[in-house]
């Protein structure tokens, strides 16, 4: 009896692992394609098409594309903007959700809808009005304008998520805090924040990545090349008359690499969040 269940368990284990690995391979194959193509020479690309393995590691394509779009500057801009937005948006969301989810301010449903409004708007709606607004305050063509816009847009999502999470915190928690003699700020930072650390970590990763990958509004608000971000650089080779595959491949790879690195680094933070979150 025991032996059979062990064998069944073993088989189920293997099958589940194989199934997962297959699914995973499907999910990451596009990245493999991008990576292979970035290292091919022009001749290889044309001879064998974009879906073959490269003969060798060829860096010429990457180097040329890097220099041509001044990738270093674009990386720095994206980094500054994405990090600033991630922190600011979490801050705003935290405050909003604290008031709504824990403080149970009157008109909570109405206020939630008010904040969610930001993500219901298609971005085209914001382009012209914000263009005139930023121009009038001298913020057109600045990274600060982009930071402000995305802080607000992402805080909308963050407010919604955190309010949902905070709303199910039990009353006992708050009562316990009151007995201990906490004021509102202490309650927020000593109890609520540590408890919601997994959610906050997830939000940080999301906000960073979403901001990094934004294309449309940065295209509208960032005019000078010196202020532009990585996705805009990747789009250089999507011009209407672009005839070649190689710059397209190189820019695709350069466009994706930083986020992969970021995610690998912050994967660990997400995992660490586990131990802090237990409700006691």
């Amino acid at each position: 009896m025991v032996n059979r269940s062990l064998i069944v368990n073993g088989t189920v284990k293997s099958i589940s692992l194989i199934a997962l690995i297959t699914l995973l391979l499907i999910m990451v194959s596009p990245f493999a394609i991008i990576t292979f193509n970035a290292f091919k020479t022009e001749d290889e690309l044309y001879a064998h098409g974009p879906l073959s393995l490269p003969q060798s590691l060829n860096f010429k394509n990457l180097r040329e594309t890097w220099a041509r779009v001044d990738y270093t500057t674009k990386l720095w801009n994206s980094l500054v903007i994405s990090t600033a937005v991630a922190f600011l948006a979490i801050g705003v969301s935290l405050f909003n959700a604290y008031a709504l989810g824990i403080g149970r301010v009157k008109g909570k449903a109405f206020l939630l809808v008010f904040f969610i409004l930001a993500i219901t708007l298609p971005q085209e709606v914001l382009a012209y009005p914000l263009y005139y607004f930023f121009k009038s305050v001298g913020l057109y063509n600045t990274r600060l304008a982009v930071i402000l816009v995305f802080t607000v847009l992402h805080a909308s999502y963050g407010t919604y998520l955190l309010t949902s999470v905070f709303s199910v915190f039990t009353r006992e928690l708050i009562d316990a805090a009151m007995i201990d003699g906490c004021n509102k700020m202490q309650l927020l930072f000593r109890i609520v924040v540590p408890l919601s650390m997994p959610s906050l970590s997830v939000l940080f990763v999301f906000f960073f990545i979403w901001t990094w990958n934004e294309f449309f509004l940065p295209l509208v608000f960032l005019v000078s090349n010196a202020k532009q971000t990585v996705p805009l650089a990747a789009a250089v080779f999507q011009t209407q008359h672009e005839t070649l595959l190689t710059p397209q491949s190189a820019s695709a790879f350069l466009g994706v690499l930083p986020c992969i690195i970021f995610f690998i680094l912050f994967q660990r933070t997400l995992t660490k969040g586990i131990t802090v979150g237990a409700i006691k």
Binding site: W66, R68, V80, T142, I147, N225, Q240, H241, L244
Partner: protein
């Protein structure tokens, strides 16, 4: 404890980043313009040191933008920029490479702001240059052009796309842009394949169809087409339209005047012929799913013998095709050909250094830069023919000169109406797929055209 540290770090990071973003001087845009020959591996662009300004004489900054880096036009303009730097040593030159999309979508915003360059490239046509000139965003260059002789270098038919009237329609009125090159559409063909299958360069539409039929019979797709991108097929279609069009039709169509009958003989012929070619298999079975880059790749690899596209790609073709002998011909047996003057150099109304812009345009139109353009595979207006080495390039420029001499430039079909490129391209995709008949196709393109025309009154 943990939380206090978190707050402190949080606040510090936010403060630092906001300060950086708002106040820190951004690294100055690179002043490197890529060299005219094939791009060798080059070091990342140098950043000019930002010297604190102590001397009273302010260094002037000349800002110039375009999106033709890597093409013959870009090579020639880079050469002109080097000449400019040599003749204006006291001026700091800031060049920025842009993208076609960014300029198309945000030109209005940029031109209305204070962040304008002194000279920039824009697309020609009513929907772009015409619109901007109507709203007073562009400097009127009529007088300057006369003074500096630009209107002598650009022939009248080339100037059609440089002049716009008060309604923003091209053809007449003040000169708002300067073009330094020409462009047209033709058929690039694989000479080796033609020889292998015993076909000759056609001299009439019937002969062209016979050539295509021969290839189809051998199981080869005759023409490559990247219809996924919407715009390539607009050229194939207009070339067919031009077999039955006359100068009046072209003028009325482009200038949104008079009567344009989308169900008249010319448009009916074009739609039916195009559908017929699709059905006979001239473009292969999957044209709608193939991108422009892929379509060209098929031609480079010698899989498809003919490629109807524009002279803008000539330079790239020169670099990419190594395995076979190739040539070009115009769609034979007609007077008109899709083509025009090139994109425009304009000087924004808000520009701070207009005189510098004029100096630069002088250099871009001068023989030296123009010859660079020709040798890189572009169609120059003012090149020194004796310096043009490649016989194919000479042939290219001669073809264009012939069209101009015969007053055959027929412009591009998406110009009259803003956003018409996707409309025309989309309707053509349906014609290719067979989901619309030729009559339905003509309805499809007539609607938006007439609607826009009506809205102008």
């Amino acid at each position: 404890m943990l939380t206090k540290r978190w707050i402190a770090t949080f606040v510090a990071v936010v403060a630092i980043l906001s300060l950086l973003a708002a106040c820190a001087p951004t690294p100055a845009a690179p002043t490197v313009a890529p060299p005219p020959t094939e791009a060798p591996t080059k070091a990342p662009a140098e950043t000019p040191t930002q010297a604190p300004t102590a001397p009273p004489a302010e260094k002037r900054v000349f800002k110039v933008w375009h999106y033709e880096v890597g093409y013959a036009m870009g090579d020639s303009w880079a050469d002109a920029l080097e000449d400019f730097k040599a003749t204006h040593p006291d001026v700091e030159v800031v060049f920025e490479e842009k993208t076609f999309e960014q300029i198309m979508e945000t030109a209005r915003m940029i031109l209305s702001s204070a962040d304008v360059p002194d000279a920039m490239e824009i697309n020609k046509g009513n929907a772009t240059a015409g619109l901007y000139s109507k709203e007073g965003l562009l400097t009127d260059l009529t007088e300057v052009a006369k003074e500096r002789g630009w209107d002598q270098i650009m022939s009248p038919s080339i100037q059609t796309t440089c002049r716009y009237d008060e309604k923003g329609i091209m053809g007449s009125g003040k000169l708002y842009g300067v073009t330094t090159y020409g462009e047209f559409v033709m058929v690039y063909y694989n000479k080796d394949m033609f020889e292998e299958y015993g076909v000759e360069v056609p001299t009439s539409l019937e002969e062209f169809e016979a050539v295509c039929d021969k290839f189809v019979a051998e199981g080869i797709t005759p023409l490559t087409l990247g219809a996924l991108e919407m715009w390539p097929q607009t050229h194939n279609w207009q070339e067919l339209l031009l077999y039955k069009a006359d100068r009046d039709l072209i003028t009325n169509y482009q200038l949104l005047q008079g009567e344009v009958d989308f169900h008249g003989p010319a448009f009916t012929f074009a739609a039916e012929k195009f559908a017929e070619h699709v059905q006979k298999g001239y473009y292969g079975p999957n044209a709608n799913a193939v991108g422009y880059v892929d379509a060209n790749a098929a031609f480079f690899q010698g899989k498809v013998p003919m490629n109807l596209t524009g002279s803008w790609a000539f330079g790239e073709f020169m670099k990419q095709i190594k395995d076979f002998d190739w040539g070009m011909f115009l769609m034979p047996g007609k007077k008109f050909n899709t083509g025009s003057g090139g994109n425009l150099w304009i000087v924004p109304q808000n520009a701070k250094n207009k005189d510098l812009a004029y100096d630069y345009i002088d250099l871009a139109l001068a023989k030296k830069a123009q010859t660079v353009m020709a040798n890189a595979g572009g169609i120059a207006l003012n090149a020194d023919v004796s310096q043009v080495t490649d016989p194919k390039v000479r042939e290219l420029n001669e073809l264009f000169a012939t069209i101009v001499k015969n007053d055959g430039l027929a412009f591009y079909p998406d110009w009259p109406v803003p956003g018409y490129l996707d409309i025309l391209g989309g309707c053509l995709q349906e014609l290719i797929a067979g989901t619309k008949s030729p009559t339905e196709f003509n309805d499809c393109i007539a609607g938006p055209y007439n609607e826009y025309k009506a809205s102008l009154e």
